[in-house]
């Protein structure tokens, strides 16, 4: 099978426009809002084969396929989504959404505000995981999807999958929560704050209204991304990939790029700061920090999960220290205390947090096997 055979091929993004104001957890209302989304595969007659893929911090609706033949790269989870792949588009109708507050076509800080004709900027309200799930539910209504066969996500995407099962228990058959956590640890919040500070203290930030200055806090965003990347890789994985390799083979006794790891991080930071919106980055990290579904149930996660109807697949990766296996176990233990259906795997991997985007064989086998059962269940 060539890659072309099991790719969803050329795809087109779509836009859903909503004119009913959406109430947010913060108490704000957002009027006229839009969601950019993509779909792959075909919705079956009884609309039972729909799968929602939720994106993480820097992701978006472009999950699989290419926009043109010459696209350099496919969607961010093309390895997992396509005909014959674990999230099999021959059986499932797969939906990818850019979340509210994003910078890839859904209403976000860089979108023009209808009232002013200017970008939202600092005026864009803080959005939370449950706000995103509410917005996704309205999109599901629009698509005629009463119940998802599965909601799937890694990292921040996994938090959305979990939130779906709590906010809309009857609308989720299965939740696949990968390399995620039921809430962030202090260390994780700390990493997010350093990233935010890098952006907020960039002179080009202008309090979030940098658009009108015709600039962007690229240096801050670059630092935020560099820090992020360090936490997404494992020490061993980094060692394997870069080690202490020097670009020119010898010390230069200066501050330009010398080690390969420096080159990698700077390249990733530069690339990201060219395409991503700093305000969106700030919003996404806040959504991560605020996520804590147990808080509404007296900080008892099992109690928060007592009405959940979905079956869960929870997966973590041994070398992931940003969302360590222990954090996934917290969720698993709460699910077992709540007597919910759950399977859990701790996948051996050197890829750190990034492993949820990689293809470690046991991970692929687990996803394929689990989703095969989901497909059988819904007759897809």
């Amino acid at each position: 099978m060539t890659e072309a055979d099991n790719s969803v091929g050329i795809v087109t993004a779509q836009l859903a426009v909503f004119d009913t104001p959406l109430p947010l957890l913060s108490g704000s209302l957002i009027g006229n809002w839009e969601l950019k989304y993509e779909t792959y595969g075909t919705l079956n007659r009884d609309k039972s084969n729909a799968v929602l893929v939720c994106h993480a911090l820097s992701g978006h609706h472009h999950v699989a396929g290419r926009y043109t033949e010459d696209d350099a790269a496919p969607g961010w989870w093309d390895s997992m989504v396509g005909p014959g792949k674990p999230i099999d588009t021959r059986r499932f109708f797969v939906v990818g959404v850019n979340n509210l507050g994003g910078c890839h076509g859904s209403t976000g800080p860089s979108s023009l505000r209808p009232e002013t004709g200017e970008p939202w900027g600092a005026a864009f309200p803080v959005v939370t995981v449950s706000d995103w799930v509410n917005a996704q539910a309205l999109l599901a209504d629009r698509l005629g999807i009463e119940r998802w066969a599965a909601v799937i996500g890694g990292s921040l995407g996994g938090m959305q999958a979990l939130q779906w099962t709590i906010s809309y228990p009857a609308r989720v058959g299965h939740a696949l929560v990968i390399a995620s956590a039921p809430k962030l640890s202090a260390q994780n919040i700390a990493f997010n704050d350093v990233a935010r500070q890098a952006i907020l203290s960039d002179p080009d930030f202008h309090g979030g209204d940098f658009y009108r200055h015709g600039t962007a806090p690229r240096r801050g965003l670059r630092l935020a991304r560099m820090l992020g990347h360090i936490t997404y890789l494992s020490d061993d994985g980094m060692g394997e990939k870069f080690g202490r390799m020097l670009r020119s083979g010898e010390y230069r006794f200066g501050y330009d790029v010398e080690f390969e790891i420096e080159s990698y991080l700077r390249y990733q930071g530069d690339k990201f700061s060219d395409i991503f919106d700093a305000n969106t980055y700030l919003l996404m990290t806040k959504a991560l920090d605020y996520f804590d579904p147990a808080a509404d149930a007296g900080h008892d996660l099992a109690a928060a999960l007592s009405d959940v109807k979905a079956s869960f697949l929870v997966a973590s990766f041994t070398s992931d220290w940003r969302f360590s296996p222990a954090r996934s176990r917290e969720l698993v233990d709460a699910l077992t205390r709540a007597d919910r259906r759950v399977s859990y795997a701790e996948i051996e991997s050197v890829h750190g947090h990034d492993a949820f985007l990689m293809l470690d064989p046991p991970y692929v086998a687990l996803m394929r096997t689990y989703l095969d059962r989901v497909a059988q269940e819904v007759g897809a």
Binding site: R341, V342, Y344, E346
Partner: protein, 201 residues
């Protein structure tokens, strides 16, 4: 799968001890065949625990709730008497913390079912007399690569239960597919115990 006969003989014996609709924790559940059968035929809810990811995948294929974990790390995630029955099948002899797991399964389960190969089986004794460590159907390993580190005979296991104030509710000893009632410690290759904490019904 419809009838008990579709299960491996030793799993049939365990399945016979599981009550309808009970909440079960199966430690070292392998491919989940027992739990799948119990779910289908006895309305059992529960989880299997496995250390090996390939077995987790097999459990998922069988539609069984499977949790990857190391039993040596204990069962602290589970509350007292949070399961009706806990199964520890042909695993105890391979564990480092034998006594601890015995206490843990009787804490977490209102009742526990433990099975293990009987080291006192006559064929094992015969092989030892012949000057070699036993290798048989129930213990198919060479001495240098066996996972089994804590061999015991029926009397040893029962003494450990007594020491920890664990009651033996029922005992069955098998040789292959036959139940052994006369001289079980010599004639039985596989022992099955239903046990529970004293003072807990």
């Amino acid at each position: 799968m419809t009838r008990l006969e579709t299960l491996r003989p030793d799993l049939q014996q365990i399945a016979g001890w599981i009550r309808d609709g009970s909440r079960v924790l199966d430690l070292g559940c392998g491919d989940g065949a027992l739990l799948a059968w119990l779910g289908e035929h006895k309305g059992v809810r529960g989880y299997g625990v496995e250390i090996d990811v390939d077995n987790i995948v097999r459990c998922v294929a069988n539609g069984v709730n499977a949790l990857q974990g190391d039993l040596e790390a204990g069962l602290s995630a589970y509350g007292d008497a949070s399961f009706d029955q806990v199964i520890l099948s042909q695993t105890i002899q391979a564990m480092r913390e034998t006594e601890r797991i015995l206490c843990e399964i009787t804490r977490v389960g209102r009742e526990a079912i433990v099975t293990f190969p009987n080291f006192g089986y006559w064929r094992n004794r015969w092989q030892i007399l012949a000057g070699r460590m036993p290798v048989s159907e129930t213990i198919p390993y060479q001495w240098y690569d066996t996972p089994n580190i804590h061999w015991c005979m029926l009397g040893d296991f029962e003494a450990l239960c007594t020491k920890n104030r664990i009651r033996i509710l029922e005992r069955v000893v098998m040789d292959g597919q036959r139940r052994v009632d006369f001289l079980p410690n010599v004639r039985g290759s596989l022992a099955f115990y239903r046990i529970g904490r004293q003072g807990r019904s």
